[in-house]
Symmetry: C2
Subunit: 422 residues, 2 copies
């Protein structure tokens, strides 16, 4: 790769500038402990977008907004009629979120374009930076609305009636938002009203502990693992804790215990690839001296291999039923996303860029969802990860070092330049 490396642009990536911009963004919605709470389509979100817009237009990027509020900043190519390379992520956060999840992918894309600009490096294809609307789903569920609509995965009006905790609907808040950004040129909505990108590359913190634990600089993401979410409701009978013999009880807590123990056995995986989580439990009546007559719990099951995802996921209801001693159970699947496997083109470009910069890489699936998964049907897609401390995300203590982020942005810059010259 040395003959194709965008040496000057990579050298122009400015660690302190990128960090300072992240810290400036982090002031918008700052919460105690270095956290950020910046929900989509709020004034804070709009302030973050204006900040981005100011930085982008200062280096000649052309802004536009689509019907879902996805915000674009375009750097022209030498053949500007070609399909663009798209990069970016999101700027909304979880309610108790951190300073890097999402927003770094946007700031990294901006820094890459700034570096190309500073180095005077032109590319054959245009490069577009995107900040997707509502990736987190913290205010309006589900997340990834902007990328889903862009990809034509769902109609743009799908979520108009979704309300936040205060009863404000997504449709009304989006209309208000678009009116407040009426000064920004409008563009057509994604692949429904425009060309597909040539490629999509999203930078993100890992949100897991592997890169840090193994001392790796860059995660070359090979795809996004599949997920199946279930809600289990176990129904027994409430009784007096002091009087009812154990043999006569139908204790929903005890049958929950049996069910989860059986699921642990079903989900056993010596390779430690499988993810199985019971994260939410609700007990009724939930008093210390009453036998519980109802327990609801959630299952979050993920795997990058669709065969495993299907086989073990399909076994869940039967395993639960067989485990019960006296209660009954209903098992409802609430979400089912098959694994998204990335075309090798973009991951290979990321790996080549890292190699050219003498950075270590690990090829890995993404455990978390990302807007990238909706780009997979549109164009060659990829992601790059940087390490984050202790794997923590969605929490104020979320942290990546300035140098780790800068290394990721250098790889992003090189990979974007490479892809945009194809």
């Amino acid at each position: 790769m040395p003959d194709t490396i965008a040496r000057n642009a990579v050298a122009a990536v400015h660690e302190a500038r990128q960090w300072d911009r992240l810290m400036e963004m982090a002031k918008l919605g700052a919460i105690p402990g270095d956290g950020v709470n910046r929900a989509c389509l709020t004034d804070l979100d709009r302030q973050a977008r204006r900040l981005l817009l100011g930085w982008g237009t200062a280096i000649g990027l052309a802004p536009s907004v689509d019907a879902l509020g996805n915000l674009f900043l375009r750097r022209a190519g030498t053949d500007d009629s070609l399909a663009p390379v798209l990069t970016g992520s999101h700027m909304d956060t979880q309610p108790n979120g951190g300073r890097f999840d999402g927003v770094w992918g946007v700031i990294a894309g901006l820094e890459a374009l700034e570096a190309l600009h500073a180095a005077g490096t032109s590319t054959r294809r245009p490069i577009e930076l995107v900040a997707w609307t509502n990736e987190e789903g913290g205010r309006f569920a589900p997340g990834c609305m902007g990328s889903m609509a862009y990809a034509g995965f769902k109609p743009a009006d799908t979520w108009d009636a979704v309300a936040d905790n205060e009863g404000l609907t997504f449709g009304a808040e989006l209309a208000k938002h678009l009116a407040l950004e009426a000064d920004i040129p409008r563009r057509g909505l994604g692949v429904l009203e425009g060309p597909a990108p040539f490629a999509y590359l999203e930078a993100h913190i890992e949100q897991g502990p592997r890169l840090e634990a193994e001392g790796i600089d860059i995660g070359v993401v090979t795809g996004i693992q599949g997920s199946r979410w279930f809600l289990v409701e176990i129904t027994g009978k409430t009784d007096h804790a002091g009087t009812t013999p154990l043999s006569l009880r139908r204790d929903a807590v005890q049958d929950m215990l049996r069910a989860v123990t059986a699921l642990n056995a079903l989900m056993a995986d010596p390779t430690d690839t499988l993810r199985f989580t019971v994260g939410r439990i609700e007990v009724h009546p939930n008093t210390s001296n009453s036998v519980a007559d109802r327990v609801r719990f959630t299952i979050d099951f993920r795997h990058p291999d669709n065969d495993v995802l299907q086989a073990r996921g399909n076994a869940i209801p039967g395993v639960i039923q067989a485990a019960l001693a006296g209660c009954t159970a209903t098992v409802t699947e609430r979400f089912h996303a098959v694994p998204a496997n990335f075309d090798p083109m973009v991951p290979d470009a990321v790996a080549a860029a890292a190699a050219a910069l003498s950075l270590s890489v690990l090829r890995m699936p993404s455990g978390a969802f990302h807007d990238a998964q909706f780009m997979v049907p549109l164009c060659p897609t990829g992601m790059l990860f940087v390490p984050c401390r202790a794997g923590v995300s969605h929490h104020p203590s979320e942290y990546s070092e300035p140098a780790q982020l800068a290394a990721g942005t250098r790889v992003l810059t090189q990979a974007l330049a490479d892809l945009a010259n194809r």
Copy 2:
């Protein structure tokens, strides 16, 4: 016993009158599904007390109230200077309670006195009927305040600052209550200001399924089993459910599972005498796609044998610590009551009365708490149980048949007459 049976009085027990009085009481605080919500020291409580007072004074019983609001109705003995036989229970209910728990013991005592009155049967000793203040603890915790103060177990002002959900204190509500009952003669508070009873006998629904399941008429209660309550808090680390390998997690839900599984083994009891309940579980952050960093759960452990109660209860913290895979735990004991074993005098009187009436009996410990446990240090104490449907109590569906209740009251009448003639 046939020569000492109070035949005429037992024959005067009036099934329909007792039932009608219970149904009239049940109107005071009626809630859907035949339930009752009648908290202590409320207007509803006072209406119930006035109803009782009216029925009692109509047959010449002498009312009095003590400093805790315990309400007494006294039937004179032929030697009225002797220590009285005390009978009764409580008239307050759980917030989602039924028509029988507590109030039947009071109405049964009244019916016994009414039967003695109707039959013209006098007894050597006086018999006092008591309605204890705040047995349930549903409005002001803990329960059994009236009987604890009567017994000198706690000073009368112990709970003055205890507030209900609306911020009203027990002390202020009790003062208001006593002012509203200023027309009723005041008496000294229990054994601090008066003689101990000769004996105490409380009638109650079983609140468990054994009598019904075994087709037994009368439970002869031998004591009240001991109880130890613990709060366990397990602390781990929250992580992203999609990204964090299971081997790197410190999942508080999974360690809760390990802890309760180990406790189930500790609490194994082939005789099915031991009661072990995990009835309350709280998970944090309790979201489906986050590994839990904290689980709190309660342990309610009861046994009639103090050796078992001490040995297994003391083993709980160590068993939990040994079961944890990656989390830490704190175990706090919140309540510890050793078993109360009744002197045989009153249980034997109950058994003899049942035998004289050709009713079947089962000697059994009480699984639930009762005011009776605080009488144990004062005088020979006993309880009698009648079956209740499916063992349900503290619920609107709580039910005993009129005939089952009448049988219990006949035994009570005979036993009281027997004890009051000693």
